[in-house]
């Protein structure tokens, strides 16, 4: 059908739109329609016969037993938006010139990538200097493997600063048409797309709407048809779900799980005491948080791996259920009795500023801590100041962090508890926590090529973390998509909002 235009709310305009360089959801949200990864997350089977991955630019993948190579068979007959053919040279270029040296997550995943062999136009063989678990590569594919065109970037002195990063040329179902800063991005149908009968839409417009309440209004007024990433405030969902012609989806974010965690500065004597940390864990009513702050659109967390990652999840860990008396007893035991005023000690609590929920949880945590005699002051910073205070200057006692589980614990989870990360790295262990046992376990898992053995190590890690609580995980949450009922095929994969939308349709 023709003339179908999908208007979507977007809440930010990334300064670098190239997903091969910036692997973040804000970038993927727009660019994933233009630039494709080797494989995408899926609710069902994958190219290697195992669950969870669907082929995109790669049709199949296989890792060697020694963990020193991985082979990708590439899709044939794919053309770049400018008409050039897509070949293995593009993959090699992307991996060696972009993912490994430039990409925020690729730098870690491909740290040991040495070379990419291209025996033919449709085969790419990744060679690693040290054994690299294929489980990790595989899990990371949807996030780290966005392929860019070699002929576009080749010869650029500084790829990271290239103009081409914001005028994307990809292989995806939509071509980048225009960006009116502050107003919208417009993507148009790629008539030469490899997917048969795809894309179904003629045009996608990402309309920049920074205010969440405004997005809800625009949706109701019919000015936009879709708002993903909870752009419609959770509190408004109950009402808006009753508006005829509007659907609410909570599926489609399974591989984009955000984790609400309390980061702890272990340099504070009180917080270095495990009893105090346990007391704090007991002081938090996780059910209340899920029910009231997330209005049920979340799950209580048991540790650093969310339930949404069944491959690694271990629910059989020490839990710290909500128990104010227990918390008080632990604090008394730890040697911090209530003083005259009823407070044991004072803390500074820095909630991360980017989500309403993290802030609200900050407000809640202040109250929860007050109930056990800890006097917390909430410090409200903007993003830059928060980054500086928590991750560079370590000038905090507790921080609320929305960390992301990215398919494999090695990508962005173990960094939360492994000691030795230099200052300045966000969402890493900046609390100065150091546990030899945990460090050794993480290092071992990093070298373990065998999938089962590696998985077991991570399950054990969850137990250790739950016992010692270097970080307190409270809830795991996804997002909500609200769309006009005209929009079809919504939320049909675990990373739907940041996938290609090749099959998304709009009923007349």
């Amino acid at each position: 059908q023709s003339g179908s235009r999908l208007v979507v709310a977007a809440d930010s305009e990334p300064r670098n739109l190239n997903p091969a360089i910036v692997a973040s959801n804000g970038v993927f949200f727009i660019s994933s329609k233009v630039i494709e990864p080797l494989a995408e997350a899926s609710f069902d089977g994958g190219g290697d016969g195992e669950g969870g991955l669907a082929p995109r630019l790669a049709t199949s993948w296989e890792g060697s037993d020694d963990g020193l190579s991985a082979t990708f068979k590439l899709r044939e007959g794919v053309k770049w938006h400018d008409g050039q053919p897509f070949t293995s040279a593009d993959v090699a270029f992307s991996a060696l010139q972009v993912w490994k040296p430039l990409q925020n997550l690729g730098r870690l995943v491909f740290a040991n990538l040495e070379a990419v062999d291209t025996p033919d136009d449709h085969t790419a063989v990744f060679r690693f200097a040290k054994p690299t678990p294929f489980q990790l590569i595989r899990n990371a594919l949807p996030v780290v493997s966005s392929v860019v065109a070699k002929h576009i970037f080749e010869g650029e002195a500084d790829i990271a600063a290239s103009e081409a990063n914001n005028k994307l040329v990809g292989t995806g179902p939509f071509r980048f048409a225009e960006h009116r800063p502050g107003e919208y991005y417009r993507l148009e149908r790629n008539p030469d797309y490899w997917g048969e009968g795809e894309p179904k839409l003629d045009e996608i417009i990402f309309r920049v709407l920074p205010d969440r309440a405004a997005a809800a209004g625009a949706l109701e007024a019919g000015e936009i048809q879709l708002a993903a990433f909870s752009q419609v405030p959770l509190t408004d969902l109950d009402r808006i779900s009753k508006v005829p012609g509007i659907e609410v989806y909570s599926k489609g974010y399974e591989a984009l799980t955000y984790q609400l965690g309390v980061e702890i500065n272990h340099r504070r004597a009180e917080l270095a005491n495990v009893r105090v940390r346990q007391a704090i864990a007991h002081a938090i009513d996780r059910d209340f948080v899920v029910r009231t702050i997330f209005l049920g659109y979340a799950e209580t967390a048991t540790g650093i791996v969310p339930k949404n990652a069944p491959e690694f999840y271990n629910g059989d860990v020490p839990l710290h259920p909500f128990d104010v008396d227990k918390a008080n007893a632990l604090l008394d035991e730890a040697g911090y009795p209530r003083k005259d005023g009823g407070a044991r000690f004072a803390l500074r609590l820095l909630p991360a500023p980017y989500f309403t929920e993290t802030r609200q949880f900050g407000d809640y945590l202040r109250q929860a801590l007050a109930a056990v005699g800890i006097d917390a002051t909430v410090v409200n910073n903007d993003a830059a100041a928060h980054q500086k205070a928590v991750y560079t200057d370590h000038d905090f006692d507790l921080a609320v962090a929305p960390t992301v589980f990215r398919g494999d614990p090695a990508i962005s989870t173990t960094i939360l508890v492994r000691s030795g990360t230099p200052a300045g790295v966000p969402f890493s262990n900046q609390g100065g926590y150091e546990n030899k046992e945990i460090d050794a376990l993480i290092d071992k898992a990093g070298e373990t090529v065998d999938t089962a053995a590696r998985t077991a190590l991570y399950k054990q890690l969850q137990v250790l973390v739950a016992e010692d609580l270097p970080i307190i995980n409270v809830a795991d949450w996804g997002f909500i998509t609200v769309a006009s009922s005209q929009v079809k095929n919504v939320s049909n994969n675990p990373r739907w909002a940041v996938s290609s939308w090749a099959d998304t349709e709009l009923d007349a």
């Binding site: 973040s24 804000g26 205010d211 309440a213 405004a214 109701e220 993003a383 830059a384 790295v425």
Partner: protein, 329 residues
Amino acid sequence: MNRALRLLRRRLISSIPVLLIVIVGAFFLLELAPGDAADAYLLSIGGGDPALVQALRQSYGLEGSTLSRLWLYLTSLARFDLGWSVTFNRPIAGLIAERLPNTLWLMVGAVGLSFTAGSLLGIVAGSKPGSWRDRLLSTGSLALYAVPSFWLGLVLIVLFSVQLRWFPTSGIETIASGKQGLARARDIAWHLALPVAALGLIYLALFLRMMRAGMAEAWRQDYALAARARGIGPARIAVFHIARNALLPLVTMLGLHAASMLGGSVVIESVFAIPGFGRLAQEAVAGRDAPLLTGIILVSAVLVILVNLAVDMAYAFLDPRVGANEVVA
């Protein structure tokens, strides 16, 4: 008009040190803030490693001292180059040129609305001080003034966009409509109706009350009594003799409030998703983009100075006494 020219020259000369203070102040404000552009960026992309942080700092030119950066900035300003925005990865001049018109339209609309409606209603209210009409108008407008603008904006959206669907909820024009010329102007006006109302209604009270007070004051002047003594009717006195005198302080206030209105648009732009100056400034602050914020503040200061110049000219036009010492006859 030689007295106008004299005024102009004096104004321009005295604005040079003012702009210098503004530039240096704005620059330091962000330079001294906790966190820099690299910090802001890193969080926005969800993390990275230490080497990336280093690379970012280097590519943003954040290595030298604050003073050396200020010097660099000033020298580039001297070449009429506003610099490069790391947040947007674009030249600042282009960025500002793109956003400024939207804010200007909003301001012009809001000022036009509040000034004309305010002064007209002020004449109505001030022509009979103490009457119920006067009380209603002046207290009612004050109540509007006391409503936070963002809240008024949201209520207008709910009422007129979502419920009645008379106006669009947000944006400056219909997206990707391809409209040109007059059709586009109409489209923009239609989009601006609500934000202009939200901002204009707030300031309406200011002008209304000032006009009303000015009218009351002017009525007490001898020339009002003299006009009555010459047999001129009250309506004619109000409109032809008093209103113009009462308008003078309003014009002055227009200049004084130009800056505050520009500030007020920050919130309105955010509510109505208008890609304007205010939002750009917010993003500059969030991104710790000192050159961008300085550029924005500099341009708004220049704008305010220009408005004040225009106000002075208008004042000189309205009040023959300004700057004149020559004696005729």
